[in-house]
Symmetry: C2
Subunit: 246 residues, 2 copies
Amino acid sequence: MAKSDTRGDTKGGTARRPRSPQRTSQASRAARRPAAAKTETPYHHGALREALLQAAERVLERDGLAGLTLRAVAREAGVSHAAPTHHFGDLTGLVSELAAIGFRQFNAAMASACDTATSPLERALARPKAYVAYAQAHPGMYGLMFRTERLDYSRPSLHEAAESSFAGLANAISAMRQEPISGRALTIEQGAAIARAWSMVHGFTMLLLDGRLEDILERLPAGTTAEQLLEAILKSTVAARMPSGT
Amino acid sequence: MAKSDTRGDTKGGTARRPRSPQRTSQASRAARRPAAAKTETPYHHGALREALLQAAERVLERDGLAGLTLRAVAREAGVSHAAPTHHFGDLTGLVSELAAIGFRQFNAAMASACDTATSPLERALARPKAYVAYAQAHPGMYGLMFRTERLDYSRPSLHEAAESSFAGLANAISAMRQEPISGRALTIEQGAAIARAWSMVHGFTMLLLDGRLEDILERLPAGTTAEQLLEAILKSTVAARMPSGT
DNA sequence: CTATGCATCTTTACGATGTAAAGATAGCGA
DNA sequence: TCGCTATCTTTACATCGTAAAGATGCATAG
């Protein structure tokens, strides 16, 4: 339903001067959009911003990054194609706000995973495993957060959410190394430890989502999953690096 | 010059039925494109396919991934916007062939870097350093190879080039571990070693290109470069993993 | 209670893109 | 010399992002 942008656009280019009054009264407009806005007021949605973000997340997980367009989101929400502009400015704005939501979900998932861990070894494994698990459960969202070039990190919501994600990682690493970070400064060893951990998990996730680890998984003993491969990587890494055996 | 696709298109939508003979003779056409094709034959370019790929690489490094469009490449090459279709089918085709070229450049860069290395430690560092160096020198190309969703790996040229890249990595890892890979099968430890190395370098590169390591670099001692950070990561990794000290 | 202003949403319009389809051109073999 | 076919151009169209102007309804001042 509503295949062509609630009609209008790209139809006749020659006729129809820009300034024809035309007076489409409320009745004709309401008759044209029967299904949208079930019991809500048709005009003045009230919570269009949140509705658009939820619609965007649905579109993203259904049609992928390529399908996430302003017009598709507007269609999904049942409003005109230009409605999102007023709330987000442009596509970058919408995408950035959605990515901020993604980072918050992501942070929450990792925090809850760390809470349920008991032993130090388990704690060291819980975070990266939750990282990859989130990306597998929300591939569209993860791609939006880490693959899209149209993100505006100057937006406070996105900047803050992404910053919080980084802070969680840095804290986890410094806790594992048992040397707290003093202020903002980092030694080269600390920076290398953080960058190594982040690079490893992020790289693994990207390769996995892109299907580039299939080659390796096929060569492994039959039935080996990506999670088991990740665990093997993590265990050998942690074993070579933790202060003492658990 | 030639700002609007050699003219035509998007002009009048209503009039002009599809089948008007219209007979634009050769004279009018030649007069319309004066500057393109300097001394070559105007029609039947002869080596359009290669010219388009070179044009595409120029456009990619100049305008980034977002600027790499079929029409922009055609403009850059001085041909009509539909000319690439005949040689590559669609945008995925062109992009895939260009990515294959990128993989070949990439493989050559890493091979030559390994050749110049002498000590085992140097050999272990040369490949990942060349990896990151290539990505920094050709960010557009690397993004095309590892960020684009529009790649068709069923194309033989791309499949082969990417496969060769993976084989080089796997060989380097098995050489470092001093246990050759038997046939196609991998133990879980071998798979983990390969996936770990690839994930680390790929993740580092992506984060670096996306500017996400800026935060870490700023906190490091003043003047620390990305290369130094990478080296610190690699050295600690290799030190924990190589059979004996060098 | 009415009028005015403003935030919200819709219409209309335009340039750009990918792609399909049909026309034009040239080289090459029968 | 005459088609045949590969190569390139024209034309057309749906879709997208975005700008600009109109329509609508809520809030608030008078």
